[in-house]
Amino acid sequence: MQEADILFLEDSFKKYYFNHFDQIKVPERTSEREFGYQKFNSGMTRHISLKDDKELHLLLMQNIPSDVYCSNACYTFPNLPMNEKDWKEADLIFDIDAKDLNLSCRENHTVSICNDCNEVSKNLTQCSKCNSTKLEKKSLPCKNCIDASKIEVEKLSEVLINDLAITRENIQVYFSGNEGFHVYVYNSQFQEIGSRERSELTDYISLRGAIPETFGMKKFKQDRASFPDFNENGWRGRFSKYVFGSKSKRSKIITELLANGYSSFQKTLDNASENIGVKIDPNVTIDIHRIFRLPGSINSKSGLTKTHCDDLTNFDPYVEASFLSDDTVEVFANSPIEFKLKNKKFGPYLNEKVTVPTFAAVYMICKKLARIA
C-alpha cells in the first residue's frame, strides 16, 4: 500500500475512534485480557494489558492501529509471554465465515489481484495480463453471503440454547467487519475447558464424527425402535426431521434405511452433517490463546466496523457497520464489481478517477481496488 493511502486510512480510522469510541465494547475483566494491535504495513504487537477503556482509548489515539484485538481468555499476567500468562478461562467463541459456506454466488463477486503486475480481474486462476498464478483474491460479499451466514448463526444458537443450556442473553452476535459473524458465549459451563474439549464441542455442533448407532442404525440385530422419533431433542431430533421430512414418512424411510444397510447409512450421516451441521470454523473455537478483533473496532480488510447485531434478521452490515464519513475524496478505482454501501451503489470502476465518499473510498482501498489520486 502506498504512503498516501495509509495516511488516508489512518486519518479516517482516527476520526472514527475519536467520534465513535462508544461503539467499542471493552470486555468485562478488562485488566485480565491480552490486547494486541497492528499498524498498517507492520507486524502484530501482542501481550499488552490495559486497565480500562481509558487506556484503550489512549492506545487507539496514539497508535491509530489498522486492527485491534483482545483475548477471549482471562489471564493472571496478560502482558507476559504466552507460557507465563497463567491462563484462567476463556469465553467460548465461534466464527462463521461466508467463505467457508461454498456459496455459488462467491465467484461472481471475487476478483483477483496479480502479485506480479497488479492487474485486477475477475479471472481467478491466472492473471489475464501476464499469466502469473500468484494471485491475491478479494471478495466483496453480497447479500446472499450475509444471509447464508445468518442462517448458520441461527442454527448455532439453536444448538447452544437447546442442547447446551446456554441462555439467550449470554449469546452475543457480532458482524465480523468483513465476511461473517463472531458468536460469543459468556458465563457458560464451558469457560474453563481446554482446547481439546472445545474441539469435541465443535464436532458436536457441526455434527461431525457421528456413528450410525447413535442415530439408530446397528450393524447387527437391527431394530426399528432405536431410530429417533420425530420430536426428539438434540441431534437425533434434527436428524429425523431432516431425513424423514415428516412424521408420516418416518416408517417408510426407516424401512428404506434398513434395506440400504449400515455402510450406506454412514453416507446418510455424512450428508446430514454437510446439510444440517453448523458450519463453524473449528480452529477458531479450539484456540484458547487467540486474540480476536475487538468489538466496535474497524476491520482493515474492509473499513467496516465489527458491529453488535441486536436484531440479526434485519441486520444489514452495509448500512449498520459503515461509520466512516461522507466527505468526498478522489481515487483511482479499479473495481470490476459493483457494491452497495449506506444504500448507495458504487462501481463498477474500470481504472478510472472517481470522486466518492470516504466510506466507499476506504472500502475499496482496504480491498486493494483503489488508491488515492
Binding site: M82, I166, E192, E200, Y204
Partner: protein
C-alpha cells in the same frame, strides 16, 4: 472426607486415612512385623502387590457387597495399607503404578455395582459422592441414568479414542450428558488410577520396620522385571540422563529441568510426540498442558520460535548440571559428544 462405614472402607480402602485407621483399630505398624498373629498380613499385602504387578485384579475376601466374615474385614483394609508401606519402603515406582492401576480397577467394579444398586439408595449416594469428591464430576440421578454436565463429561472423555465416546454420539440434553452406571465409572477410570497413585506417592515413607525386610527385598527384585525402556543413549550428557532418570522414577523434576530436557530433545530432532511420553510419570502430569508446553517450545504454536537448550552455565546455577570429564570445553549440553580439535 467422606464418612465411611466398614463395608465402604473395605471396598474403597484408598479413601481411608491410613495412620488414623490403624490408630482407630488400635494397631501400630511395628506390631505387624513382630506379632505372630499379624505377620501373615504382610504376606497378604505382598500377595496383593504380586497380583497387581501381574496385571490382574486382587480378588478380595469381600463377597458381593458384604464382607464374608466379620473377621476378614480389617484384614482387607490392613492388607491394602500394608501394601502401600511395602511399596514405599521398596521405593519402586513401576510397582506403585501397577498397584495403583489394579486397585483402581478393583474399586471401579464396586463403584459400578453401587451406582447400579436400585434397592439401596445409600449405596447409590455414596458412589455418587465418591465421584464428586474425588474427581469433581457432579453426577445426578435421573430415572435409570446418571447425568453429568457436558463440560465435566468432556474433561474426562477426551482421553478416550473410541468414537462412541465422542460427545456427538452421546445423549445430550439441557447441557448434560446421560450415562449408564458402567459408562459413568468408565469415565473416571484413568483418574481413579492417578488418584490412588498420587496418594501412594505422597504418603510418607517410614523407616524400615523389623519384619518387613524380606517382603521389601523381594519387591525390589520383582521390580527389576518391569524396568521400562528408556530413550537414554550413550550420547546424552549427564544433566539430561539425570533428568530422564528422575522422571522415570516418577519423581518431580522442577520446571527448569523439564524445560532443559524438552528443549534438548526437540533440538536433537525428536518430535513433540516422541518427547511427551517422558513426562507421563511426573506426579502432576497433565497431557493437555504438557503438549501445549512442548508445542510452544518446539515453536509449532504461539510465537513460532523454537526455544533452544539453556547453556551449561545457566544449568549450573539451576543445580541441573552433573558434569563429568566428558563435559570439558563445552558451553551447551547440545555440544556434548561432538569431537573438538
Amino acid at each position: 472426607m467422606l464418612a465411611l462405614g466398614q463395608d465402604e472402607i473395605a471396598k474403597y480402602p484408598f479413601l481411608a486415612d491410613a495412620g488414623q485407621y490403624l490408630k482407630d483399630q488400635g494397631f501400630s505398624l511395628e506390631q505387624f512385623g513382630t506379632d505372630p498373629d499379624l505377620k501373615d498380613l504382610i504376606k497378604k499385602a505382598y500377595q496383593r502387590i504380586l497380583v497387581a504387578a501381574d496385571g490382574k485384579i486382587y480378588k478380595s475376601d469381600l463377597d458381593g457387597d458384604h464382607v464374608s466374615k466379620e473377621a476378614a474385614l480389617p484384614r482387607e483394609v490392613f492388607s491394602f495399607l500394608l501394601a502401600i508401606v511395602l511399596l514405599k519402603l521398596s521405593g519402586m515406582h513401576t510397582l506403585i503404578k501397577r498397584f495403583a492401576l489394579a486397585e483402581a480397577r478393583r474399586a471401579e467394579k464396586y463403584l459400578e455395582k453401587d451406582l447400579a444398586n436400585i434397592s439401596d439408595e445409600s449405596k447409590n449416594q455414596l458412589a455418587i459422592r465418591v465421584i464428586d469428591d474425588l474427581f469433581s464430576v457432579q453426577v445426578e440421578k435421573s430415572d435409570g441414568y446418571f447425568v453429568i454436565p457436558v463440560s465435566d463429561y468432556l474433561k474426562h472423555s477426551i482421553n478416550f479414542h473410541e468414537r462412541e465416546w465422542k460427545l456427538i454420539n452421546r445423549h445430550v440434553e439441557n447441557g448434560q450428558v446421560f450415562l449408564s452406571p458402567h459408562e459413568t465409572v468408565r469415565l473416571i477410570r484413568k483418574e481413579l488410577g492417578t488418584y490412588i497413585n498420587s496418594k501412594i506417592i505422597n504418603a510418607k515413607t517410614p523407616t524400615m520396620i523389623p519384619g518387613f525386610e524380606d517382603s521389601v527385598n523381594k519387591l525390589v527384585l520383582l521390580s527389576k522385571k518391569f524396568v521400562t525402556y528408556t530413550v537414554t543413549t550413550g550420547e546424552y550428557p549427564p544433566c539430561i540422563k539425570h533428568a530422564i532418570e528422575i522422571l522415570e522414577k516418577g519423581e518431580n523434576l522442577p520446571h527448569s529441568g523439564r524445560f532443559m530436557l524438552a528443549s534438548f530433545l526437540l533440538s536433537k530432532g525428536q518430535t513433540v510426540q516422541q518427547v511427551a511420553p517422558l513426562f507421563k510419570n511426573a506426579p502432576d502430569y497433565n497431557e493437555r498442558v504438557t503438549l501445549y508446553q512442548l508445542n510452544h517450545l518446539a515453536g509449532t504454536s504461539g510465537s513460532g520460535t523454537q526455544y533452544s537448550c539453556p547453556s551449561c552455565e545457566k544449568l549450573k546455577t539451576q543445580s541441573l548440571c552433573f558434569a563429568t570429564s566428558e563435559c570439558d570445553n563445552i558451553i551447551n549440553p547440545l555440544q556434548f559428544g561432538r569431537k573438538k580439535k
